[in-house]
Subunit: 304 residues, 6 copies
């Protein structure tokens, strides 16, 4: 998606100019993975217009392999971002009816998935339209058939669908998922509210996921892997812009998972990438290269 964000704080009506960039949870994760050194391919549908050119060029620039389906009939999705105050951001989506929502199962190239090590899906795609939901299910089906690992981030977006609609889709997807990521509120949509995040992590596994990670923002994360519970504190920083931190977290975890690292290492990388992403304005611009992580990573062991 293209992203217009105001360059200054305050109501958008006083914005002198808007920065033009791109955003979206999937491309954030893809870019963060590429910066961490993981070979990665991104698939998406954009309009046959200049904002579509922009989206594809920016993802490609970051070293991500890009499969960009161009839709001649609909414009590229867009979001508009206002920084109302230093601590309050507002976002409006121009997403429904636009190219991204017109993704269909036919847009999915089976070979691409079959030859991958891992397929990462988000809960945003199925929320966009019926055909995009079908594309998600089709990708999932292909991956399972080919034995490809599947990761899934719930990424609930309240402007796109209701919690009940989301719950039904989450429950349909979870049984086929190897790794699931969710914020605590997102997890509770899928598996009901609970007092402790670790309870949510267990319930996600009960719902069918292979392993589960519950992201807790400045409170770190908990995970359940092979029946073992893990807890990891966040790295203490002074955040500039927290948007994209969750995507960085997921990328950090996946990058280390693919390298065969153990769970504490994955979580350490995950919170480090998430923290780094908060140090710079922009949804993904601050994502770190692996060489940059050292300065941030806390040394204390993860409790288990």
């Amino acid at each position: 998606m293209a992203l217009m964000s105001s360059n200054t704080e305050g109501p958008l009506q006083h914005a002198r100019s808007m920065a033009l960039g791109i955003g979206g949870a999937e491309s954030n994760v893809a870019i963060a993975l590429a910066r961490l050194g993981t070979p990665i391919t991104w698939i998406g549908r954009v309009g046959d217009d200049s904002l579509g050119d922009l989206v594809l060029r920016e993802i490609r620039a970051e070293g991500v392999q890009v499969i960009g389906i161009r839709d001649p009939e609909a414009p590229t999705g867009m979001m508009v971002k206002e920084r109302r105050t230093h601590s309050e951001t507002r976002v409006w989506y121009y997403r429904r009816g636009n190219a991204g929502s017109r993704l269909t199962a036919d847009d999915i190239d089976p070979a691409l998935i079959q030859n991958a090590s891992l397929l990462h899906l988000t809960g945003i795609t199925p929320a966009l339209s019926a055909s995009a939901a079908e594309a998600t299910f089709e990708a999932l089906r292909i991956a399972k058939a080919a034995g490809v690992t599947v990761s899934f981030d719930l990424n609930f977006r309240g402007k796109l669908w209701s919690r009940e609609q989301a719950r039904q889709v989450y429950r349909r997807i979870l049984p086929d998922v190897d790794l699931v990521f969710a914020g605590d509120d997102e997890a509770s949509i899928a598996v009901g509210e609970a007092d402790a995040p670790i309870t949510l992590a267990h319930r996600l596994i009960d719902a069918g996921a292979g392993q589960s990670v519950v992201k807790l923002g400045e409170h770190g994360a908990v995970a359940v892997v092979d029946g073992v519970e893990y807890q990891r504190d966040a790295i203490r920083i002074r955040p500039t812009d927290t948007v994209g931190a969750g995507d960085g977290f997921v990328a950090g975890y996946l990058a280390d998972y693919l390298l065969g690292a153990d769970v504490p290492t994955r979580l350490t990388t995950a919170v480090s990438v998430g923290a780094y992403a908060c140090l710079v304005p922009g949804d993904w611009e601050g994502m770190p290269r692996r060489s940059e992580l050292a300065g941030l990573t806390a040394r204390e062991p993860v409790s288990r």
Copy 2:
């Protein structure tokens, strides 16, 4: 509509920042009229969002009375503008499904029209959606019933509907219109192609309009009023940005029509406002106050 336009020439993917403003033929005409000293009210539907705040504040700022219907369900319409080269502009609309297209007949306050001297309509509104077309027809019906003068600018937008769809609506509206404005290509959609613009002007009257003005850009304009033909050359200038010139032309004509000026005077004011609008970047920002016209207005009489 909100308007994002690149601050520099070239493909949008290289734009460092976008200027945020507003645009739209109706608000352009309204603002130009206000600057010329004509009391004017603008009615429109925008989202209950920050871009909606922007649209309403900018029109209000110009001294236009604003009736802004806020739509809690849909975002404010938007357009994105690229200056591909110094002489080529590209525009993409985020208009369908957005607040402006959800205008309905219920949004029209009859008293407002009944108490006006003139109702100005454009051919953009009926192209947005079925309900917006209904709102147009309803406004027209109220005006006719109350004996209020109606002006209509065809304003064909090829991205919103086909020429055939437009033709049918134009033909339905024209019999109820007192003043019609059209570019020569637009006129030919309504009344068929012709060798000479003046032929188009006559045919618009044959189709039911009271008087007709065919806008010819740098070639000026022709008009047929009370059976008399008029021709007016454009004012020779070095244009910076021609977008909005047609709307300035219409405002100039209407302002003087409402003052009771004769046709040559109206046309002189029309081409002057149109020319002035071209001297400054932006769709409407350069619209002149009446005191600024003197410097530009050519002295030669209009031929008749």
Copy 3:
């Protein structure tokens, strides 16, 4: 007044560009009231120049009814603002001899005041010139004669007059004032220094005001209304730009006063608007709409 403020911190000589906007305690209060939903009219004198156009358009944009007297002889007042460091702002006025200072009693339309619910005056206007002081007194006289409520903010400006000059005018105005607002230092100009702000509030009433509110910035405010003392803490925030907070406070108090709210509610709204105004750069750009206040307003009751 027009307002030029540097876009970056540091000595003005290194400013790469200046933001052009408007400022002034009266327009700040007017805009804040309009955003809170209070119908409001602003009267002022500006030059017949482009900066005058700017001042009027920006106030009008915010939904304030604007009575702008254009002075063909003098330029619009201006102020220049430097952010020397993140915590130190310097301001220079180009105000004397300019249009605003040439306001006269003749500029005041009696009917406008007679039909209002409340007349708000500041101590800046009488400091500008003898004729502007006369205009202030005349407005006051009209309001009293018509039984219109008068509010007055002392708004001492040391660059415009001495403390002694200010004191004399304050003492002349206070007996005719229904609501008076003052910072603690300002109050001490009018009624002498005191150990406790509440003492100042009492003395303002002794000097003739109907009710008094002493603004204490990050320490909140105290008030005396109908002989009862009120105290209200400020809302704890991380301020970005404190200029305009006092004006937002006054607007919050007046908006709720006009709605018939009780004193604790008025003070809560006042500190909330004041706090919100500090969250965004600019004198008035951050003023909140009523719907935005909820997030900020502290729940604890005002002590009395």
Copy 4:
């Protein structure tokens, strides 16, 4: 003077930001002379404020020796510039009552003038105030007494005084002037209208000047020196910003005069500097170094 100019074309009310710089005929001439390699001292009065710091630093930066009198009582003069269209600039002065207008005869250091080769005065200074006029006359008196060459540019400013007021001062100054520069309209203020510029040049000498140069913008210049008439065409360029061209012309003439060059050479340098100044936005920023002139200077001889 400080100078705020809009960064974009159009009414100032739409300016997103203003460039902050300096301007003024005297500093333009001084800077152009310094760039041409002429040692030069500039004397002026500015406020003891940040804009005063700016004015002094920018002139000093250009290699001009700066005598800056700081006025603790009044702010630095300012002008505001709007580019209404690409070919129309509007300027508003905040000059009266400000520091520059408070120049007095006491600010003039006699030794500075006595040791100079040439004293350059403009007709702006005496228009600012009575005391500034006195300072001008005092400088003139000192120079004459010491046998220092005096040059004078009429520089009529209609916003500061009337043509009749200007005429009286011009006539008082001209008898003591060795070189006088004037545009043709300015010359006609001093010596009455005439059909041919060369007639004006002769009349300026009749009024007491030693030699006279009449600047004709894109039509070049004429001069009368030692009874001989000279005519010089302008250099044909595509101008970007003509403000400052006249000051560049004067500097070019004076620089070569001080080097002892003959009149045709002086005029060639004058029109070259004037042309170069037009190639860049800004009043003085585009002034050329001597090494840059070669590319522009036309080769054809001056007619005499």
Copy 5:
């Protein structure tokens, strides 16, 4: 190379800010080819620094396959660009001793060349250093051995070496070159001055090149292919920025050469791409996609 260019016209000392981008004849050609739909790989050496990241990301973004050798010892090459006037650009190189100049024969992957359809070299690389010259010769040797077509653009840079030094290298390279491109002045360095460009084209073939194209800017181009002479006029446009036009020309010719088009078609595409590149500020940003060419391409046949 990284490229810093001033955002405004005038001496760099007055630049308020610099645009940061990339430049270089090789990347310009690569990007233009990619936009025309030709698969292309770019090889270069940059520092292991942020400007190196920038260079690689921008070329990659355009769909060029990038082989970026990172040099841990030297910074990425840079150039600084001043727009002194609207028609005069000045460039300073920070190139010697930087990463690009440290290219060595070892950096060349033989397989990459052996599998290509065409190897494009410029005369800039051998001018940077002895090792870079060796790399050029090595690439040439590999291509010849593998029967890969070689194209060569003389691209003389007077700040890097003398005409005599360049001539010797050109003469060494030309016998191994299948297609040579040269401006007329560049050609005369290699083969001596001549009255007619077509003579230069013949002499380049005499010097060993397979076919030759002499670029003549606004005068079009001449070519000699298989003994036949071709001449092609330029497309008449109003240029905004001519830098990069020659690189666009080369890309247009090569793109069509690789598609098997005849010489007149190649030249038409070449002048069209060159013209398009001039319509937008920036060295390469305005390079057209193939679909954009239609509007510009003149219809008249190439004379032969």
Copy 6:
């Protein structure tokens, strides 16, 4: 040196534009001294290019007497600055081979040094090249011969030479130095590591310096003068940009040294200037005038 710094936080590849300015420890100290009222001359070598013009104009603007040697053969040195996060700055130098590094002993005008009260040298100059080192030694020799006080700031730059290379030059220079300034790590290069800063200060004197000051950033400074130890805390501020603080410290100390102030006063001024410099972005732009110091200077006595 010219200085390009990104206007926004994040990787340089996302910088929308770069601010163009100047930097360098020597000019920072010179400018800070000028602002404190100390007459000061700066000598340096820059290219005969626009960046050289910039460097000289900016230093001159600040009231520093500038001796600028123009090098026709090499470009002006440059540095590129990235703000990777709000708390991490990265700098790349384009310094070797550029004009500054080509300073030679011949560039030193003996009279200039002989007539000065104090010669300030930095450890950067000898690190640039052999000839620049010679120039440093020559200046030192002239000063000693003339009995001129010499101050020296070690200013170690790890990108220019090794610690061992630096150590040898420091040891050669120290015996001729009257005042030496060093950070604690820099001091340890010269005299070996030590537990306490005061030990380093003593050892610098043992190595030949007359008096020594060890700068400790936010921990203040220690000094040994005439065998007496001094300690001074830093002033507690919220820093915006700490670059240049050390140079401000040195300037503050030297300014008061030259006024004959006692050591505690010098240290108080030093930490005040250093603190002030941190309050504004930029290496030197925030340096205070003496009148601005009062607000910051802590009152507590220096311990001795």
